[in-house]
Structure formats: structure tokens, C-alpha cells
Symmetry: D2
Subunit: 139 residues, 4 copies
């Protein structure tokens, strides 16, 4: 495994193809072979009753972090597609979040990632996910 | 199992506690014991590269439909919490979507739902999910 | 979608390639396009404390039923591989079990199945699973 | 979090309540707060066509390791029940296996574990799972 894009290329790619998620405030904090850390600024629009960050918001962060670690390794030509995402919500999130995603597998046809989402301040685990991406044959 | 809220009470409850998701254009199309159908108007903001509806958007629809079927049966006093959601993305979605959620289990502590998301026009299955909710003891 | 094997061919194939699971007492009760029903005789060796059927036993039944419905459609030449299985245990099983598996997707590279396991006598849902299979390119 | 049982108590408990799985050759290699390592001797009966360890066998190992780490922390009086297990099969297993399970959450009502299964010799990741257990109120 080696990287095909660096952190700023990966972030630039988000802005280009996902303008809709620009307002999520994602930031690639770290990128190395097999691993990425993506932070997210939490604002009112991501909150649920009781002040908790919504499940869909955490899903978005998990999916984005793992999508980016896959793209960082296969290059932006390829359009990987999420085929499965399983998420466990562990504890009530507080404040900004950080997702650490790692590649469990990078095959020719499938990539599998594991993602831990923590509160940036307290480092408490708030959610844990695994995601599978289908990699197009044109790769 | 019996319903504690009807379709319009359930929709009113969304508007009240989830103002953030008002712009998702969810509509409860049908509600009966153990089953709900929730439709969603797709607009540009839910789209991904290639014109496909984003994974997070489908997650939101799946989570919302299953959350509502749980609330419809336990009443709005209770605050159920999503503990797990597993989603398989099956085919490229086109146009507005409809989610059919059914209760697989409604226990004292846990509720489990199964959700099929289809294109409203073609009826093609675009995603399938299962979700678990923890029901607070104060119930 | 069309069937490449009938029920007895599918059962014969199990005996041939999975002699280890012969003692599970699986029986293909019904097979049609997109759907299969596989029953299982429960004996002492599948039981857990409290007389419940073990999780691994229900996993085996879910995996077997969905594997067989995939093979029935792609033919026995192909060796499909389980890539993901997510199972929710719903209620305490009693007596013999029956698994109804349906194909949610049969793509060139991936097949996705949904499986409901019920008590054969009471028809109570005891477990629900989804499974993904990778289909080899040589197909 | 603190341990209520040590490694040999945990192993003794398996032999007592799960005599059926004695022939799986499970061995608790390490147990500390929040973590357990359980090894498994692979024999012919766990093999699938192509010489690969069967999915159900890896499910059993994942479920057992995570069940034991939960019991080690709540004590053997309690009967935790698996409510959900999601497993990704990553690569073809070879030889004996070792499962490293860690507690992601130990709540009053739910425990969530993450499990990595590796080949004991090559240390290659062969499967990754997450599992949820319901903890009875009598705790």
C-alpha cells in the first residue's frame, strides 16, 4: 500500500466533488499509509434533541473519513462506492469530533475500513463503524 | 403492539424536535401497526458525484423512518436512541425515495427495525438497512 | 434472474463440498427465483445455556441459506465468498428452525441477501441477517 | 472497569456451560482490563472448500472472545445475550487463529466489543467483527 494523494489533495478533492458537504467543516488532520484522521466542527444543524450530535452526522463523518482513506490510496480517478456501513453509537458526543479511519483491506475489488469517532476534547469514543467500498474494475 | 401516535402526530413530532431535518422533505405516507412508509423529496443538496443520492442521505431516511415507527409505538415521551445501524447500498437511486420500515422486535429495552429504501417511481430497491434502538427504562 | 440449480442439486452440492455441515440437518424446503427456505433440525449440540440455540448455529443457518440462494443463481462452478454478515438476534428460539433467504441484489461482483430465521412451529422471528457475497470474476 | 474473573476462571466457565464448544480448542491467551486474546486450533471440521476456515467457525471465535471479555467484567452470574454481530471476512485464513477482542463500551444495559481475528503464524488479519451484548437487569 502506498498513498496516491496527500492530505491537501484529498481535501481539495472533497471541495471539488462534494460541495454539498463543505458546510460540514471537515478537515484532514493527518494522513499516512493505511490511516487518516478527519475532524469535524459541530454546529447547531448537526444536533438532535438533548444536544447530541445526530446519527446521520456521525454516519457522514465515518463515511467521509473512510472514503477519503480509500481514495488516498487508489487515486481520484477511481470512483469507489460505499456498499456497506455498519455503525455502533457508543456514547453521547460532546463538542467537535475526530474520526480515525484505518484500512483493514485494500483489495482489487473491495476495500474495508474501520472508523473510531471520538470527542476531540475528551477523547471519549462516541461511535465505531466499519465500511466496505466497491472499487470499479477500470482501476 | 399498538400505535400510540398516528401519522400526523408523528410528522408533527418531527417538525417539533428535528427542525434541522425539516428541509429533508420527509412525509409519512402510511402508518400501521408494525409498519411505516416515509417518502423523501430529493433535491440537489442530497446528491453525490454522478447524480446519485448520497449515502448519508439514505442513512438519514433509514434512521428517520425506523425511529418514527418505534416512537409511533412507544409514544413521544420516550427518547429512543439509535444504538446500531447497518446499511447495504444496493443500486443507484433515481428520483424521490420511499422507505418502508417494519418493526422486527419491540422489547422493553430494545427495538429492532428493518428498512427497505426504493425509488418512488421505478420501485427499484436502492438500499436496505437494519437498525437497533435502545428504549429508556423510564418508559 | 433465473435458477441454475434446483433444490435437489443444491442439496447434493452441500453434501459434496460441505461434508462437515451434513450433521446440521439442513434441508432445502423451497427454492424459487430469488428465494430459498432452508430448515434445520435442532439437536443438543446446537444448544446454549438456558436451552437456547447458539448464535453460531443461527449464523451457520443464515450463511448457508444465503450462500445456497446465491449458488442456485450463479451455478456451482463459481465459488462465492461471504464478505460480510450482519445478524440481529431477536428472540429465544424454540425447536426446529427455518430460514427464508431472498436475494436483494445479484450483481456481477456482489450479491446481497436478507435472511429471516423463524421457529418452525411457532413462526416467531428468532433472528434476522443480511449477508454479502463476492462473486469471482471467472464467472 | 475492572475484571471479575481471571483467565482460568473464564476458561473454566466455558467448559462448564459450553461443553459443546470444548472441541473448538479455544484457549484464553491473555486477559486484561478491557481486552482478551483467545486462540483457536484449526482442525478439518472447521474447513471449507479450498481449505479455508469456515465463516461460522470465525463467527464462533469472534462471538466467544467478545462474550468472554464481557463476562470477565460483569461476572459469571449474569447471562449476557448477543443481540448483534457484524463480521467482515478480510482474507483467507491459514493455520491456527487468534482473536483479539476489546470492549468499546460496558454500559448497564449494553456492551459493545470489537474483534480482530488473525492467523497466529502470519499475523494477517482474516476477519473483523463488532458485537453487541444485552446485559440482564438483574445484574
Amino acid at each position: 500500500m502506498k498513498l496516491e494523494m496527500n492530505a491537501s489533495e484529498v481535501e481539495g478533492y472533497i471541495d471539488e466533488v462534494f460541495p454539498q458537504i463543505a458546510d460540514y467543516g471537515f478537515c484532514v488532520e493527518n494522513l499516512e499509509v493505511g490511516k487518516i484522521s478527519v475532524s469535524m466542527k459541530i454546529t447547531d444543524k448537526h444536533l438532535r434533541p438533548g444536544g447530541t450530535v445526530s446519527g446521520p452526522t456521525m454516519f457522514t463523518l465515518a463515511d467521509c473519513a473512510s472514503y477519503l482513506i480509500v481514495l488516498a490510496h487508489i487515486g481520484k480517478v477511481a470512483l469507489a462506492v460505499t456498499t456497506n456501513l455498519n455503525i455502533n453509537f457508543i456514547s453521547k458526543p460532546e463538542g467537535d469530533l475526530i474520526a480515525d479511519a484505518q484500512l483493514l483491506k485494500l483489495g482489487k475489488r473491495l476495500a474495508v475500513c474501520e472508523i473510531s469517532i471520538r470527542s476531540k476534547v475528551t477523547e471519549t469514543l462516541v461511535a465505531h463503524a466499519t465500511a466496505t467500498y466497491s472499487i470499479p474494475p477500470s482501476r
